[in-house]
């Protein structure tokens, strides 16, 4: 098409209208087919979020959890590696003596301020005991207050790894200041 012909808007306008109209009628037919049950996908690429979810990658860094030993106590030895490496300074550990003399320390407090956390995963990398992981698959932990974003040791210990489908298996812990 010569430039002069292209400057005459009408032809280009109609070719553009043809493109968008083709989209409209194709998607409309797909929507109708979906509505009557003839097709399993509709005419849109939209994922209707709270009801539908994309599959999560197994590498997804989600809400932290603290791993337990076989006897149920935390694996964490309060070595402060994660607290040190954390670029957001969002981990607060208070160390205590472990009753077992083979294990040196245990955290009496292990708080993560998720309002500060940048989900970089350095704490998981740094941990020598594999005591902290970010594999719960939990992404929705909003709160109405800053205090509600601080997750304590007990809450983090109660969580489990996500299932094989990437969906969370444990309920989202409710912070003390939030009413369920």
């Amino acid at each position: 098409m010569t430039p002069n012909l292209r400057r005459f808007y009408l032809l280009e306008v109609f070719s553009g209208l043809g493109l968008t109209a083709a989209h409209f009628f194709r998607n409309m037919a797909r929507h109708v087919a979906y509505a009557v049950g003839a097709s399993r996908t509709g005419g849109a690429v939209t994922i209707q979020y709270p009801e539908e979810r994309r599959p999560y990658s197994p590498r997804l860094r989600s809400l932290h959890r603290l791993v337990r030993r076989e006897d149920g106590s935390p694996r964490c030895v309060a070595c402060m590696m994660c607290e040190t490496v954390c670029p957001a300074h969002c981990i607060y550990i208070v160390a205590d003596e472990h009753p077992n003399p083979d294990i040196e320390k245990v955290p009496s407090r292990f708080d993560i301020d998720l309002g500060k956390c940048v989900f970089c995963g350095y704490c998981v990398e740094a941990c020598p005991e594999d005591a902290i992981r970010m594999d719960t698959g939990i992404l929705e932990f909003s709160s109405y207050s800053r205090g509600g974003m601080i997750y304590s040791k007990e809450m983090l210990l109660s969580l489990e790894a996500a299932g094989a489908d990437g969906r969370p298996r444990s309920p989202i812990p409710v912070p003390a200041d939030r009413k369920a």
Binding site: Y9, L10, V13, G16, L17, L19, T20, A21, H23, F24, N27, M28, H31, G42, G43, A44, V45, T46, Q48
Partner: protein
């Protein structure tokens, strides 16, 4: 006395129908715009507004969103700038909506309805100069925008008002010139006469009774010119220079709440009016092909007689379907083309549409001389 009351009551039928049609179209167009654009862009579109009935969330394809919009706009703060001209500022959205609503009055949506021994013209107002009336109403609508732009005491609003006025003038000239060809072909300024004329066969000496003389066939160039200028006069994309969200927010920059909603409503009403006018002038109005006053009369002699009421209902349905089709097409254009720059819109209006419309008039005159006036 009771005869007068009956006359008034019967005359209320077309008026009420036009009010019902235009207001509902105006409200529904927000839904059409959202859904149609979504489907064109592989999306679903607004579908979240719901009403809970007995624990059941009813969404009906997002049809409740216009309702939610209305609630939102009515409950928002109704803001007036400190230095605004209060009277003009508050009057402007009403002026805009009023002329948008009033413009539809002389567009016919059916032939005469014979009921109780009386003949009712199926148009809200029977005017000999119906076309001029619609044009006047569309032009007067721009006063609302200019008032809004001036009274807001805001430079961006003033720019928007000026642009609206300039765009309206350039579009109005082209609209007026392009429909002159239609007026010449059908020989009347009465839109009902023009609609009736489009039921006649086109050039019977060549084609027999096969092709109805719709305006789009007798005046194809004027159809495109009128549609372009009409879309320009609705101030919607691609001619939304008066708004131009990315450069000036436009004449309604200082408006909030339902007053802002009324400007949006006025745009939709003008879309309905332009769609109705295009239908009446170019798409045969309420004409159904081969449907006469007694029923279908096909050119090879086959006939199917229908009662009067069925014919009238078919004609009204045909008009509404055509208007819906035109609205669909205008929405398609709105969601396909980007905005013209201000100078491009002016150049298109004055150096493109206007001279071409005049050329179309001249050509129409020659052809009418050649094949004889109707």
């Amino acid at each position: 006395m009771s005869g007068l009351a009956l006359d008034l009551l019967l005359q209320a039928i077309p008026v009420g129908f036009v009010m019902f049609l235009v207001l509902n179209f105006g409200g529904l167009l927000t839904w059409v715009e959202r859904k149609q654009s979504a489907i064109m862009q592989d999306r679903i579109g607004a579908n979240r507004a719901s009403i809970s009935v007995l624990g059941l969330r009813i969404r009906v394809l997002g049809l409740l969103h216009p309702l939610a919009d209305a609630v939102k706009m009515l409950t928002k703060e109704d803001f007036t700038p400190a230095r605004a001209d209060v009277l003009l500022f508050k009057l402007a959205p009403f002026v805009s909506v009023f002329f948008g609503l009033a413009a539809f009055a002389s567009i016919p949506f059916g032939d005469t309805l014979q009921i109780m021994g009386r003949e009712i013209q199926l148009q809200a107002v029977t005017l000999n100069v119906g076309i001029l009336y619609v044009l006047a109403m569309i032009s007067l609508g721009v006063y609302g925008l200019m008032m809004a732009g001036w009274a807001s005491a805001n430079n961006y609003a003033l720019l928007g008002g000026q642009r609206a006025a300039a765009l309206m003038i350039s579009a109005e000239v082209a609209i007026g010139a392009s429909i002159m060809g239609v007026v010449m072909v059908y020989g009347s300024l009465n839109m009902q006469d023009i609609a009736r004329g489009q039921g006649q066969p086109l050039l019977p000496q060549f084609f027999g009774a096969w092709i109805p003389a719709w305006g789009v066939l007798t005046q194809p160039a004027a159809f495109i010119l009128f549609l372009t200028a009409g879309i320009a006069s609705t101030k919607r994309i691609p001619f939304d220079t008066p708004e131009g969200e990315s450069e000036i927010i436009g004449y309604f920059v200082e408006y909030s709440g339902m007053k802002f909603g009324m400007f949006a409503m006025a745009d939709f009403l003008e879309t309905v009016v332009i769609a109705g006018m295009t239908t009446s002038l170019f798409l045969g109005g309420w004409q159904v092909p081969y449907l006469g006053a007694e029923g279908f009369r096909l050119p090879w002699g086959w006939a199917w007689s229908l009662p009067h009421l069925v014919v009238v209902v078919l004609q009204v349905v045909a008009f509404v379907v055509k208007v819906c089709g035109m609205i669909f097409f205008m929405m398609l254009i709105r969601w396909t083309l980007p905005r013209f720059r201000y100078d491009q819109a002016m150049r298109l209006g004055w150096l493109g549409l206007f001279p071409l419309s005049v050329a179309s008039i001249v050509l129409t005159g020659f052809l009418l001389l050649l094949w004889g006036a109707r």
